[in-house]
Symmetry: C2
Subunit: 111 residues, 2 copies
């Protein structure tokens, strides 16, 4: 598991600074299987988890939700029969913060 | 609540017949607030529910999941901080079956 999953999220205000392209490139190496996408001009991290069945999709959704609430940082979740897609970004800065990489690493840990 | 929410889903096989445009038009009147969309050439029913907060989004997601499991018919769920978007269609026939309207009505009932 990435050392990122052990780091703490810091409060992210609208004045927080987005990660640079170089920082993002370096951090992506730490979270294998996550993809960098740009949606509506906003950089985001996404990964689709194959759960195998619906009960597991819902169970994983609840585990990610618990993680989100405990960190006060919430992803977009797309729940289908045997997959759950998780998308992390920082709404306040309309882009990626270190917090998003921490949460992505933790999400993989939960899975 | 629509009388559709009291109807039962029947098993939907790949040989089931899709609803006609006229049937869809008539049934849409029964499920206010649901929108007919076409995604990847497949007609679907969608509604975004405003939950107000994350705990309620997760609670509603679980309620819809329970409904889905009990009917063995599963929607696409998009879970965000204060909204949950539900999308119903019949995968096997790549379109809309009466079951989808029943499930849409029941979903509104759960909300």
């Amino acid at each position: 598991m990435s050392h990122l999953s052990k780091a703490s999220c810091e409060a992210c205000s609208a004045h927080a600074i987005k990660l640079s392209a170089r920082e993002i490139e370096d951090l992506l190496i730490e979270i294998e299987d996550w993809e960098l996408i740009t949606r509506d001009g906003i950089q985001q991290l996404t990964r689709t988890f194959d759960t195998g069945n619906y009960a597991k999709s819902i169970s994983f959704t609840n585990a990610v939700a618990e993680l989100a609430e405990s960190s006060n940082h919430h992803p977009l979740l797309i729940v289908e029969y045997s997959t759950v897609t998780v998308v992390w970004w920082s709404h306040k800065i309309k882009g990626l913060h270190l917090n998003d990489f921490i949460m992505a690493a933790r999400t993989s840990g939960v899975f």
